[in-house]
Amino acid sequence: MEISLEGVRKSYGDTHAIRSLDLKIHDGSLHFLLGPSGCGKTTALRLIAGLEKASAGKILFDGKDVTNLPSASRGVGMVFQNYALWPHMTVKQNIEYGLKLRKLTKAELHRRSDEVLSFTQLDRYKDRLPGQLSGGQQQRVALARALAIRPNVLLLDEPLSNLDAKLRLEMRENITRIHQQTKITTIYVTHDQKEALSMGTDISLMYAGEMIQSGSPRELYRRPANSFVAQFIGEANLFDGEIIASESTDKQTTVKSPLGEIRSTVQSRAGSGEKDVSIAIRPESIRVSYEDSEEKGIESIPCELKQLTYLGEQEQLILKTKKTGVTIKTALFNSSLENIRVGETLFCHIPQSSIMILPKASHLGPGT
């Protein structure tokens, strides 16, 4: 099922939970609505579920306008953040609830509830009350309950936020597996960018009731639309910069920044004529050595090592530039630098192909 939101707005009196949202969710995708808390992602989900009425705009399911259709007629399956399991019903009763509302024979009903129970490995617990289950089991019941009705679209509202780290990883795999097996269009709301990057086929990043960028995880990571995206998805070193020269022929841009005058070979995302920009550099694209580098296409900057965190396969370094004293974060994989110490002078080598020039997202609040 393809779901589109066209110019959707949701206001509560004077406050706008969603200002104007355009969104397309492709059939069979696992689409993430990502953003910090209060960005309107849960509201968007509830609008799709029909639990809230849009103040303006249209919601389409496969091209059909469902904006004014109540939740009951949309055929969505939803997993609530708190699971919303009915405490007075057993696991089986919880799961069969939605099925009973559909025209099914008794045999069909049982077949399907058994199927879902075994699919989510809940057979053993089917006669227990939700209160007798662990958090992970409760989460699976919520998922099973939503899946049992074979929804048009599966809506997950921060489904893993109440679980511990280990369970969370396990459930991530579970959800991915379910999605791959059923191919049900799934919308997943989370504030955890790692969840989104690792699981999603698409990600829509929201902030303050607005859509910032929508696309594949790769796109969002590699081609962030602005400094907020760059910072929210993955990690990034962000600096203010001023464009002093740009040549459209070879896509080269020269920027004045705290790192000095540096050059980027990536197509700038800033608008033409926009002088004040942000510069984003992913930590893992920076290499570090004791020696200066004259290599073409590399910006080499002398720094002092301030902090070092050893993580096994990875080492995280925090450095301070000698000239301007700004901080650079790097992540080194399989580093050959064995005995580096805090206080030593090192050179950061930044490939010009990894220097992203982005519009400043100053109105987007912190982090830009």
């Binding site: 029909g50 109540p70 399956g77 708190n82 609830y97 939605g98 879902v116 059923t182």
Partner: protein, 582 residues
């Protein structure tokens, strides 16, 4: 895995369609129900009361507030208003102090005979009318049993006037507390039972001391339930007629109104006072609602829950039994006095009767009236309880989920019956429905059921509102996403979740419907429709041994009702334990 296989072959699959009713039907049914509810309230509350009260606003055919001026310029009536407010406030405070410990005992500790004790605590709310006054007088009169006993022991030379002079005010309050604490107890216990014990455990694990857990966790979470009980106790004490009459305390609103309205030369200033009480009730209700019920905390769907009830230590048991039984003992003294009266032969000027007899019980069995009365009361009250259950749940649902724009108004309208003197509503029915199909002269069944129901509706609505406020809305939303209509959700999800509150509400509705006086006296005009209370009244008025026979019937009524309450509270106790818990 078949689910996967099926889905793959059904590429772009269409979801199961929800059974064939278009969505507008649900909306339509919803609005119709709300409309019907409002219509019932209008026809059976606003209209009849309005008809009676217009006399307070009309002089010589034109609108006038003269009667209100006359009322408020009479120092006695103004004093009565202040006295009643004081009675209301003090009764609520003392009831809270009495109820809180016993409610905590019942919800937090396990001890032998817990169920029976829970039932016993509720029994005092069953006080049959008319004969209760005899009971209280018999024991607490100047030369009543207690003073005579103390004088016989030589502890007293001149009798204490328990119910006289300045003591009247406090006597009213104490009798109100002993009579009304079960209402608060029921609501508070239901609220405490709804609190996820893990919240407390959490607080305890963070090292919070007990009083702090109470102040920061239990109290805010049980506030809707407490509020439900407290507002009813407060308004009841403010407007209760029976108790002040029992000790002939005149200086309070309900007695003043009663005097005005039953005056052979009826005084319209009394109706002005009724209008003032209604306005007072509504404003007090709205005020306290915004103060007490402003924030409601819905319980999140529960995580892993372990039992919160722990066995009481020997010391704790002593405390529990002595406090609970002490309250029950005090509250049941008047009931005990009724029992003794019903068995007494030749009881005058002695501590206890000189001899006992079952004669009066025998007299009951010779007559038809008591049995008709009991049967009728059961019938009317059962129906009235159902009426309240349906109407109360719907109203509470509309109010809590704010389904209509004026839900706050609806909420306060429902509280009006508490403030209404029974006689005003009953007489309003006579005026409104005479010569219609509902004429009480022909058959008062419907009017009696509705009158019983409307007057007890506040208990049900408050209980249900408290329950709904504690229930997370996401549990209902989840149901909606599965294609359930609002009413299916209400029936399958919401009502089971607030069952403890509903049972508490039903219990109150039923018990107080069984004990209704004003509607019964005025609307049931023929023998064959007499409810139990009017039968008691008829017997009570008989000269000679009338009050003894009436007491005997009163005792039978108390036994029947106590049986119901004990039974229900055993179920309730079980339910509270079972509900949503392992």
């Amino acid at each position: 895995m078949s689910l996967a296989a099926e889905s793959k072959e059904k590429k772009g699959f269409v979801a199961d369609q929800v059974q064939g009713v278009p969505p507008w039907v649900g909306t339509f049914v919803g609005y119709t129900t709300i409309g019907l509810t409002l219509a019932v309230l209008f026809v059976f509350l606003v209209l009849p009361v309005g008809k009676v009260l217009t006399s307070a606003f009309i002089i010589d055919g034109s609108f006038s507030l003269e009667y209100f001026r006359l009322l408020l310029s009479n120092p006695l009536q103004v004093a009565a208003i202040w006295n009643s407010l004081a009675i209301g406030i003090l009764t609520t405070i003392i009831s809270t102090m009495v109820t809180l410990p016993i409610a905590v005992f019942q919800t937090k500790y396990d001890f032998p005979f817990k169920g029976i004790l829970a039932g016993l605590l509720l029994v005092p709310m069953v006080m049959p009318p008319f004969v209760g006054a005899i009971g209280v007088q018999r024991f607490f009169a100047e030369y009543g049993a207690i003073n005579l006993f103390l004088m016989d022991l030589g502890l007293l030379t001149t009798p204490i006037d328990w119910l006289g002079g300045h003591n009247k005010f406090w006597a009213v309050i104490i009798l109100e507390v002993l009579h009304l604490y079960p209402i608060m107890y029921l609501n508070l216990t239901a609220a405490l039972a709804n609190i996820d014990p893990s919240m407390e455990e959490m607080a305890a694990s963070l090292g919070a001391p007990r009083w702090k857990i109470f102040k920061d966790v239990i109290w805010p979470l049980s506030r809707p339930g407490y509020f439900a009980g407290a507002i009813i106790v407060f308004i009841w004490a403010l407007t209760d007629l029976g108790t002040p009459l029992l000790v002939s305390y005149e200086a309070c609103i309900p007695v003043r109104i009663f005097n005005f309205v039953t005056d052979a030369n009826e005084n319209p200033v009394g109706l002005a006072m009724v209008a003032i009480v209604i306005m007072m009730t509504i404003s007090i209700f709205l005020l306290s609602r915004s103060f007490m019920g402003r924030k409601n905390y819905q319980m999140m769907a529960r995580g892993h829950v372990t039992s919160a009830v722990k066995p009481a230590s020997a010391w704790m048991k002593t405390v529990i039994y002595s406090v609970s039984l002490g309250i029950v003992f005090l509250a049941l003294l008047p009931h005990f006095a009724v029992l003794v009266t019903s068995l007494s032969k030749n009881w005058i000027g002695t501590v206890l009767p000189e001899s006992y007899t079952l004669e009066y019980y025998g007299q009951i069995f010779q007559q038809e009236l008591p049995f008709t009365g009991i049967k009728n009361s059961f019938f009317f009250s059962t129906l009235a309880t159902f009426f309240d259950l349906i109407l109360g749940v719907l109203i509470a649902y509309v109010v809590v989920r704010k389904l209509v724009p004026f839900s706050g108004l609806l909420d306060s309208l429902v509280m009006v019956p508490l403030a209404l003197p029974g006689i005003v509503l009953a007489f309003g029915y006579v005026v409104t429905f005479s010569d219609t199909i509902l004429d009480p002269l022909t058959n008062p069944t419907i009017l009696l059921v509705v009158a019983y129901g409307i007057r007890r509706l506040p208990y049900m609505v408050r209980s249900a509102v408290a329950g709904l406020q504690q229930t997370s809305a996401s549990l209902e939303e989840a149901s909606a996403t599965f294609g359930a209509s609002q009413f299916y959700t209400l029936r399958k999800i919401t009502i089971p979740l607030v069952m403890a509150n509903l049972i508490a509400g039903c219990l109150l509705c039923f018990a107080y419907a069984m004990l209704d006086v004003s509607d019964s006296l005025i609307l049931a005009m023929k023998d064959s429709y007499y409810p139990m209370t009017k039968a008691i009244y008829a017997l009570f008025l008989e000269q000679g041994s009338g009050e003894f026979v009436a007491s005997a019937l009163g005792v039978i009524a108390m036994m029947i009702l106590s049986g119901c309450i004990l039974g229900a509270s055993l179920i309730l106790g079980k339910k509270m334990g079972e509900l949503f818990r392992s």
